[in-house]
Each structure stands twice: as C-alpha cells, then as structure tokens.
C-alpha cells in the first residue's frame, strides 16, 4: 500500500467528523457522532438539546442564528448592519473566493451578527460571532459592527452581551484587522466608563486577537463548558516551548481555575443566567 492510500481513509474520517461538527443545520434523518464520546446521536435529539450531546454533555458548536434564538426572547431580535461586507482592501490572494465560500457556508455576510433584542423582557445589545464564517475570524467589518453595537449601547444606555468564537484577527485584511482590537477595545471602554454592563460569553474556540481584546474585557466573563480559550493556540505554545501541555490546558475550567473566567455555565442554563445577571444590574424592562 502506498502512503497516500494508507493515509486517505483516516483523513476522510477526520474530514467527515469536522464537517458534522461545524454543520449549521442537520436534517432530521441523520445520525451524528459525538466527537467527544463517539456515541451516535439522533440529530433531532441533538437539536432539541441545544446541540449538547445527550450522552456526555459535549457542547457542539452552534451557528450565530441558533444562538440568538437560544438566548433572546422570541422574535425580539432586530439586526444592525446586516448588509455590511468587506472590501478586500489589500487585494489579498484568494480572499474574495474565501469570503464567498464563508457566506455560502454560514448564510451570513460576516463573522459576527449584531443587533438588539430582549432577554427576559429586558433590552440588551447582543453580538454573536459565527463559527461557520472563517471560524469567527476578526476582519474590519467584524470590528466595525462590534464597535457600532457598543456605540449604540452607550448612546441608549443598554447592556451588551457578546458571544465569542474566533480563531483571532483575520490575516487577509492585514494590519487593519489588528487595528480592530484597538478600535473595539476603545468602544468597550467608553461603554464601561458610562457605568454600563458588558457580559462576555466565551464559546469554543476563542483565541488570538479576540481573546486579547473584547473577549477578556467583560465586567462578567462567562464560558461554555470545555471551551478552548487562550491567546496563542495550543499548537503554537507546544511548538514554542517544546513542552507537553498540562491536562486541560486553555479549557474553560482550567482558565477559570487560573482566575480569568467568572463562571462556566451549561448551555441550557445560559439564558436564565444572563437574565438573572441583567436583573442584578437593574436593567429596565422593555416598555
């Protein structure tokens, strides 16, 4: 057997797993294999359980729209800047095609969906990043939409909730992606200086420039169980230090243990938790 055919079945298997993991919608007729416990789950069961494995509690990734539906009161979400798209200002190789493919895959125009909604009948600005759009990479539109969302919240004295998932700053927009870290942080700071509440919900994975900016800037930082959160990715850390990584390294529970996350919250409890925290900050009911 030559090397290529020897490797191929394994690669195909890995490929099929990762596509099931990131698939935004799974038809009812399908079975899904849990990548954590390897049990076969009925797709409709998985969907009903908010994409959490019924056997081992593994939290599958969730599309931005599914998450908005999970967290906001029914039909309360009004989207901001839904048509804003990137210009490919650097004319970066294959970027236009990549954007096109990401739009196709995710059904979104960019890697974050922003808007306002109510949670427990309280007004909030909600930003949800999309794992299906270039794994939530932060380009200039991502930064602009988040900045505008914070500016809107500051002007209207509303709390902000951001659900993060991101591989970091988007290299195809070069330095301008990096600048979004500063831009969003500035908007978060102005919101904070007005005495307004910002809650971060970290989901798997949140790394790089998003961790080193708005993901870590919340007054309260929540995370889903077992979410990967860090600045440098685990592979980079391993390659740089030539050391075996400690058990659970950069997982939400580990990071909480180190003092950087306020609470790890099960997905089924997320909406209730947010609504309780909003009440504790005297967020007014929608009138």
């Amino acid at each position: 057997m030559d090397l290529f055919t020897f490797l191929k079945p394994k690669n195909e298997l890995e490929g099929s797993q990762s596509s099931a993991e990131s698939m935004p919608f799974i038809p009812d007729s399908l079975w899904v294999k849990c990548p954590a416990c390897n049990n076969m789950l009925l797709a409709s069961d998985l969907q009903e359980n908010h994409r959490v494995c019924t056997k081992c509690n593994h939290h599958f990734r969730m599309s931005a729209r599914e998450r908005i539906e999970l967290l906001s009161d029914e039909n309360s979400f009004t989207e901001f800047d839904s048509e804003m798209i990137s210009d490919d200002i650097l004319n970066f190789p294959n970027y236009k095609e990549k954007l096109e493919a990401a739009r196709e895959k995710s059904g979104e125009k960019e890697s974050v969906v922003t808007g306002k909604c109510t949670i427990g009948n309280m007004d909030v600005v909600l930003c949800v990043m999309s794992p299906d759009f270039m794994m939530g990479s932060m380009g200039t539109v991502t930064g602009e939409k988040i900045t505008r969302a914070f500016e809107y919240a500051t002007e209207n004295r509303l709390p902000v909730i951001v659900c993060t998932v991101s591989g970091g700053a988007r290299m195809q927009e070069g330095i301008l992606s990096l600048m979004q870290m500063a831009k969003t942080s500035g908007a978060v700071k102005r919101h904070s200086d007005e005495g307004l509440l910002y809650i971060t919900v970290i989901t798997d994975p949140t790394t790089g420039g998003v961790t080193a900016s708005f993901a870590m800037e919340g007054d309260i930082i929540l995370s889903e169980p077992n979410a990967l959160v860090g600045f440098a990715g685990p592979r980079v850390v391993e390659q740089t230090t030539h050391t075996k990584l400690p058990k659970g390294f950069q997982k939400a529970e580990f990071v909480q243990d180190k003092g950087f996350i306020d609470a790890v919250v099960q997905r089924k409890d997320l909406r209730k938790t947010l609504s309780t925290l909003l009440i504790m900050h005297n967020v007014k009911e929608n009138s």
Binding site: M84, I85, S86, D87, I89, L90, F92, P93, N94, T140, V141, G143, E144, T147, A169, R170, M171, E173, G174, I175, L176, S177, L178, M179, Q180, M181, A182, K183, S185, G186, V188, K189, R190, S192, D193, G208, G209, T211, A212, S213, F214, A215, M216, E217, V229, G230, F231, A232, V236, V237, T240, T241, T243, L245, P246, F249, Q250, K258, G259, F260
Partner: protein, 261 residues
C-alpha cells in the same frame, strides 16, 4: 528593497535596539523602574523616567537584547503578561503626574508560553488596549524594529504611531501567514508582499503618521537628535490640548481604520 528585505532588516541582529535609542536620546537622565507590583519584573520590557530636554517623560520599551546573553535575559523581546502589566502600571503613573508616554516597540510578538497563558496573556494585552485609549496624557509609539501583532499593539494605542523606515508591523508573521495560506513557511517572501507590512504600506493605509529615517549607525547623532526634537514637538502639541480633545482625537484615530461596503 522588497517587503521581505524589510522583514529581514527589521529582524537583523545588528539592528539597534530600544536601549540604544534610550541611551542616545536620554543619556544618563534615564532612570529605570522595575516590576508590575503583581508578579515580577519582565526583562523584555524596559521602562522608566527620562528627561526630554526639560520635560520629564515616561519611556516604555520592548528590548530584544544586543547579544546572545542579553537576548536570553530579555526573552528575545517577547513579553509575558507581567511585562504588559508593568507597562500599564507606569502608564497610570504617568497619567497621575501628567507626564507624556513614549513607547518604543520591537517584538516578534507576545510570548506564547504555557506560563504566559496561565497568567492571562490575552487579558494583559486587552487591558492595555482599553486603558491606553483613555489614558489622560499624551502617548506616542515608535516602531523601531519588529511590530509583531497583539504584542506590539499592546504598546501602540497612541495619539500618533511612527515607524522607522525599515521596521515592520503586521497582524501575523510572514512565515505564519505562508504556512496557513500555502502550507509552506518558505513562501514568507510572497506572504510579506501580501500583508502590506512595510512602513510605506502602513503610511498609505493611514495606520502610521510618520516614517523616520534609519540611523546610519549608533553614532548618527543627527538622526537621534532629529528624532528627539520631533518627539518633543509632538508632545508639546498634545500637552497643549485639553484632555477631552486629546482622547477624542485618539479614539477617532482608531475608529476610522477599516473599510467596508
């Protein structure tokens, strides 16, 4: 010079480092201040007080080291969280005494170590970005060599950002970019072109306000004196602004960066 030539020039081990600039511009007036008051003293960050002519300023610099021994001690200019926290502590101190802050940036990136992650590298950078945006005293950042991603940005949220002509500033290393794009890190020269990381590219993108001529060597007094005068003039201008105006201008500087349809 191609973009990759600039990358190599910015990384050249014979290139002048932050302590050279501090020595040439501030001489014996520089008084180093150590430690973050939380965990330790990160040698990758050199910081302290200095006299800029008759004005006391706070200087915060990332130092790579000038020889192997120094480079080891400085962790090759890759700061840990306590380095960024030392920087923030001294920025807050500068704010208290209304001293301008000069940052000299030269790093391949924040250190991606196990300990760094465990001590909150992401948070340390994020806090600097937030606090620098509203720091009530003028800030000026000069990239003197490598500007590696978030680790550089953590000292470059400023009223103005300048670059030495052969320095670079990038969201990712060209090698990292090439290995993601083409699964081949030897294509770093091509990636360097795509990333638009040279001083002239970044000037055109509106990310830096000024390009500074390279010193021909460490004895190029004219260059160091010229740079010093430019810094003094910029601080003078910004010290004259009322705080609200200063911070509004700083916010607007970053607010406009990006492009969309």
């Amino acid at each position: 010079m191609s973009a990759y030539d600039k990358v190599q020039a910015a990384r050249n081990s014979k290139r002048l480092t932050a302590v050279d600039y501090i020595g040439k511009m501030f001489g014996s007036s520089f008084f180093e201040l150590h430690g973050d008051r939380r965990f330790g003293d990160d040698k990758a960050i050199v910081a302290g007080l200095a006299m800029l002519y008759d004005v006391p300023i706070t200087v915060i610099a990332i130092e790579k080291g000038r020889n192997t021994k120094e480079r080891m001690a400085r962790n090759f200019g890759s700061a840990n969280p306590e380095g960024y926290r030392k920087a923030l502590r001294l920025m807050k101190q500068a704010e208290k005494f209304h001293r301008p802050v000069l940052c000299l940036v030269d790093t391949s990136g924040a250190y991606p170590g196990i300990d760094a992650e465990e001590r909150g590298q992401g948070l340390a950078i994020a806090e600097n970005l937030m606090e620098m945006m509203t720091l009530k005293t003028p800030i000026l950042s000069v990239l003197i060599g490598e500007g590696g991603s978030g680790g550089a940005l953590a000292l470059a949220v400023a009223d103005e950002v300048w670059m030495l002509e052969d320095s670079i500033y990038s969201v990712i290393s060209p090698e990292g970019c090439a290995s993601i794009l083409w699964k081949d890190s030897t294509k770093a020269p091509e990636a360097s072109e795509c990333l638009k990381l040279t001083s002239h590219d970044l000037f055109d993108l509106g990310v830096v306000e000024r390009i500074i001529r390279e010193p021909s060597n460490i004895d190029d007094r004219k260059m160091f004196e010229g740079l010093k005068m430019l810094i003094a003039r910029t601080f003078d201008k910004n010290l004259a602004l009322d705080t609200e105006r200063l911070l509004q201008t700083r916010y607007a500087r970053f607010r406009r960066l990006g492009s969309h349809s």
